[in-house]
């Protein structure tokens, strides 16, 4: 199932480059698209604004099928405090822009599964596919506004896949 998680993240990251090339962040000295996997980055006390944070939560497996179907739940957290030039008064508009970027990144709702443990990454035989996002109501924390979108990601376990 790690391949499914990796493929989902890499697909969203590559799509973000197309959807909004200006949405970048400087993390660990590298300028990259503003999306990260929480469990693969250092712990931070404060939620970083203007980026998409992927948090993997629930896991289920259906073994009754010829190939086991893995169901993973992914929460996508994002917050913004608006722009400095706008004095933060545009934070509602910035959140709406992030909603739109995320919706565009999640379409189409599938991507080829790949094994990133090999160099170069090897494209596998099945697809990773997911549901439409379910958005929470906006969450206000002082001068910040954010939201969580939840997506259920599906993947068939291929033979020999860990």
């Amino acid at each position: 199932m790690q391949n499914a998680k990796d493929s989902f993240y890499l697909a969203l990251r590559n799509r973000l480059v197309v959807v909004n090339p200006a949405r970048t962040m400087l993390l660990r000295g590298v300028l990259r698209p503003s999306i990260l996997v929480e469990e693969a980055e250092p712990y931070t006390a404060k939620a970083l604004p203007d980026l998409f944070l992927l948090r993997w939560t629930a896991l289920a497996q259906n073994q009754a099928l010829p190939e086991a179907l893995v169901t993973l739940e992914c929460e996508i957290h994002y917050v913004t405090d608006g722009t400095q030039t706008g004095g933060g008064l545009d934070r509602g508009r910035m959140l709406e822009k992030m909603d739109a970027d995320l919706t565009a990144m999640l379409a189409p709702p599938s991507t080829p599964k790949q094994d990133s443990t090999q160099t170069p990454a090897v494209v596998m035989q099945t697809l990773v596919f997911w549901t439409d996002p379910v958005f929470t109501a906006s969450i206000l924390t002082r001068d910040r506004i954010g939201r969580v979108a939840t997506v259920t990601v599906y993947s068939y376990q291929e033979q020999g896949e860990a």
Partner: protein
Amino acid sequence: MPGPGTGADSEQIGLASGSFEDLPLSPAVIRKTRDKMQEGAANICEVLLSASAVAAKVGALNLDSADALFVMATGVMIGTKLFLIEAVASTEAFGQAYMYRLQLREAMPEAL
């Protein structure tokens, strides 16, 4: 502190952890804020840091602010123990920070 990344996919998906480097900060004062009350509970402490020492590191790393430094930090080593940064606050005089206060929690596995 995490060392500079390479931008490789493997680093972004947790396959390669990259390098880490120590960033000594002094002077510092460590205050224990809560005694260990129960078996297995994490130690919590507070560290007071000189703002000029922090500013020197911020400048050396070409960062925008002390906030950026603390966000990038993986944790704080006190002796041989790793502590995670839970919260950061600064104390100012005439609009200038002269001290940073970090609330730290010992990094240890927690029971579910």
